[in-house]
Amino acid sequence: MNIDSFLLMRHEIILLVVILLLIVAEVSISPRKKNSIVHLAIFLFGIHTIAGFLTIEESSLFGGMFRTNGMIHFFKNVLNIGVLVLLLQSGDWLQEKIVQENKGTEFFILLFSSLLGMYFMISAGDFLMFYLGLELSVLPVAALAAYETAKRKSSEAGIKLILSSALASGVSLFGISMLYATTGSIYFADIIEVITASNLSILGLVLFFAGLGFKISLVPFHFWTADVYEGAPISIASYLSVISKGAAVFILMIILFTVLKPLMHIWENMLYGIAIATMFIGNLFALRQQNMKRFLAFSSIAQAGFILLGLIIGNQLGTATVVYFVLVYVFSNLAAFGVVQAISLKTGKENISDYEGLYRTNPKLSLVMMLALFSLAGIPPVAGFFGKFFLFIAAASEGYYLLVFIAVVNVTIALYYYLLVVRAMFLRKTDNAIPFFKSKIYMRLGLIITVIGILALGIYSPLYEYIYELSAIFN
């Protein structure tokens, strides 16, 4: 391994170093200053995030197993920013709860290992690397979902996640083996050359898709979502819905657009049906939710349905709109989860009805929540509107007007339940509203970053243009 390959794997290696440093720190930090592990981890991850922004060349390693290019690099940075914001938002929770139980370091190690798995997954050049990355990204999260050991629901969430994800990975692996059987290779570059539509390869595609569909929580692979989100600690629910989903969408996009492009006439019909089912089921189930975490779970299922509108067209425009939408979605959803976490940490309340009258006691938090929800709903001038609009343009550019129409109907349905939360916060007056409280610096910083993202990403157009240029490799 020479210096060039080190630079190519910069993300992975620095993150590995961070993990190792944290293990050393765990041993050397005195018990009286337990909290400093949180500061250290956030600091190290911040440096890692900044280091990730240095430019990179397009190349591959290990005989094509690991590859990277501008787009993959950019997406790793998006994941980094997401995780950094997430760490900031959970900083207080970690200090007050987790570190006190002496499991702070493990939290970071598990979380970063999962992120490392995602790096390998999206950088994969063959199905072996992809599968290893997939497994590495899922298993630590299952442990994290069960992290609040005192809560029964948390253990339940962990078990549910590990069982269903093991099944999903197994199904996916089965699909990969069929693709291997038809093409005789697991390398992406070789498969593109020889793959044709045969019964076996189509079955392989479907099974492979099912595994990733589980991670993105597409209907009908979504059943785990709400229960796991509800039981898991909020930062892990947030991680699952933002980072994990984003990475899975990205690798699915790469594989569909490059490796399985010859089967496009098959998977575009598949995506068409799944998009409609996902949007409707996600939205209709979200209507009746009382718990904020379950509410956001179904909302994130519905959002995944919208993402498919960009995936379905399979070209540069599709790539650009999907990546842009995921970026916007990272900020919007993190803002929403951040507010839920801030309130839950101070008061332990997680229901929509608990939010009644929140604006009169905590105006800033309510405004952040409102912006986040408007962004998720797609109301201008916040970023979510642009993300959705561009996805619709993408789908319409290939003539999917009916699909766009169904999607806009769903936008209206979704607006209803997002407004229910706004109604609770702004319209209702109640005497036992959550009293005023001040969050600590980490949480505030985490929320401010998301708000800046929500407000600026849409209006500031050069970002989209940058993404569009990076997407040229998928044309």
């Binding site: 201008p380 509107f385 619709f392 343009i393 806009v408 407004l419 319209l427 157009s461 989209y464």
Partner: protein, 495 residues
């Protein structure tokens, strides 16, 4: 900063100042100053427009174009013609009057004025946009504050009304979005690049089947906010629950977005579709005209009466636009303006009556002319303007509409025109009925004898709205000319 972008930046600055302000007194002062400056700007724009028009014969003047999203060819593109200038003037007058009428708002004053001004940004932006994407953005910005405005400061079943209004209007904008995408992806039919620019698309011959498919989507998308029957049901509930200033802005300005959008986007860009579908929408709007008038006849709540009256009057706007001739179009724009001032005035007066008597039920009111003469006299004047008495703006508008509509000499047009004209009679009945029951007769309740006098801010708000009503009625020619000039490109495109 160009003369038009100021219409976006001044309200934004007002909002920033409001965010920093404390208490009711500062908030209302800032909003008043802000909307006063906007009024000044729009009056200045009228004069600037006339002097620019003398030397510039483009379709749009004061055009400014900045590339926003290069890949999609989305521009921040603005410009005005006579129609938009007139509507901008309407908006700024109604906004200022609305701020004055809300002088004593108690609950969360800062947030109230911020939402009101966000709404006005949406409306200003909509009227100056030449780019479909920007136009759509501003359209939604205008709609969404209504949810908070009605939901927080409204009365009665406010949560229900606010949700109904928002969902129906946003649902309509969702349909509109499909229509706009349809126009966008057909804007290269002549071999050019895809574009959202209205003026460029107008030069393109969009294929006939695309026009027929996307015209109804675009038309309905806009017409819902213009209270097209049967999609008008959000409007009476919304008006009845909204606080006074919001009803004024909503009926006076927001609903005009519908007619303007229908004209500027649906009909201008998809002329073949308009010809093909006009009979269908003429029937719907004629039903709206009649239905609104009869529904108003039966109501006892003052706000419902005016809300249904708006359905009827705005039905007439869509009706006139679909008549596809110059006179009727002129009438439609004049009717938009006239109705804007008139209905805002009505809602202001209703708000003042309600504040004093705590009821909007006309059967419980009586003899108000004796106890609050100022309000009552103005109410009579507004009523007379609404039923189209010569000398007021309503007459000029309706005259043009029906003269235009009668120029078609086939049986279908004759019948719908005659049916719509008959609504004028019904209008007279429901206006005079309210005047008779509420203003004349004995004072029904002793507590009404000691009603609060009209304050300076209420008076100035009312006069602000009354002056244009009389002004347009007495001297319509300058406005009419301004509009007629601007109709030229539509005539070339559609007739």
């Amino acid at each position: 900063m160009d003369i038009l972008s100021l219409f976006i930046t001044v309200p934004i600055l007002t909002i920033l100042a409001l965010v920093l302000s404390k208490g009711l007194k500062q908030a209302r002062l800032i909003s008043m100053v802000g909307s006063f400056i906007q009024l000044g700007m729009s009056i200045n724009l009228v004069f600037a427009y006339f002097s620019e028009r003398a030397i510039n014969s483009d379709i749009m003047v004061f055009v400014k174009d900045v590339v926003w999203y290069k890949q999609f060819n989305i521009h921040y593109s603005i410009g005005v013609d006579g129609i938009s200038v007139a509507l901008l003037l309407l908006t700024s007058i109604v906004v200022l009057a609305g701020v004055l009428i809300s002088w004593k708002i108690k609950d969360l004053p800062k947030e109230f004025f911020v939402s009101l001004i966000v709404l006005s940004i949406g409306v200003y932006g909509f009227f100056i946009s030449l780019d479909l994407f920007t136009m759509f953005v501003f359209f939604e910005i205008a709609v969404i504050p209504m949810y908070l405005l009605i939901g927080i400061w409204g009365s009665g079943p406010k949560e229900y009304s606010a949700m109904k209004l928002t969902l129906m209007l946003m649902g309509a904008s969702a349909v509109l979005l499909v229509g706009i995408l349809g126009i966008y992806f057909n804007s290269n039919a002549d071999g050019g690049a895809l574009t959202f620019n209205i003026l460029e698309i107008a030069q393109v011959n969009i294929p006939l089947d695309a026009q027929k498919l996307f015209f109804p989507l675009t038309f309905i998308g806009f017409a819902v906010i213009g209270a097209l029957f049967p999609f008008h049901t959000w409007s009476p509930d919304g008006h009845a629950s909204a606080p006074t200033a919001v009803s004024m802005l909503h009926a006076g300005v927001l609903m005009k977005l519908g007619g303007y959008g229908v004209f500027r986007v649906a009909m201008y860009l998809l002329p073949e579709g308009a010809l093909d579908w006009s009979w269908f929408f003429i029937i719907l709007s004629a039903i709206g005209v009649i239905y609104g008038a009869f529904a108003a006849l039966k109501q006892t709540d003052l706000k419902y009466i005016n809300a249904y009256s708006s359905v009827s009057h705005l039905g007439l706007v869509l009706f006139a636009l679909l008549m596809l001739n110059k006179t009727a179009w002129n009438g439609a724009i004049l009717q938009s303006l006239s109705h804007g001032f008139m209905t805002a005035l009505f809602f202001a007066l209703i708000g003042m009556i309600y504040e004093r008597t705590h009821t909007r039920d006309i059967t419980k009111l009586g003899g108000l002319l004796k106890v609050i003469p100022f309000i009552s006299v103005i109410y009579v004047i507004a009523g007379l303007a609404s039923l189209g008495l010569p000398g007021f703006s309503g007459f000029v508008a309706e005259m043009n509409i029906f003269v235009g509509a009668f120029q078609h000499d086939d049986i279908f047009y004759r019948i719908v025109t005659i049916i719509s004209v008959s609504a004028i009679v019904v209008t007279a009945v429901y206006i005079l009925r309210v005047v008779g029951i509420m203003l004349m007769g004995p004072v029904k309740n002793d507590s009404y004898l000691k009603l609060e006098r009209v304050t300076w801010y209420e008076k100035s708000g009312i006069l602000l709205l009354l002056i244009p009503i009389v002004g347009i009625g007495v001297a319509p020619l300058w406005l009419s000319n301004m509009i007629l000039e601007s109709l030229q490109p539509f005539i070339q495109g559609l007739l």
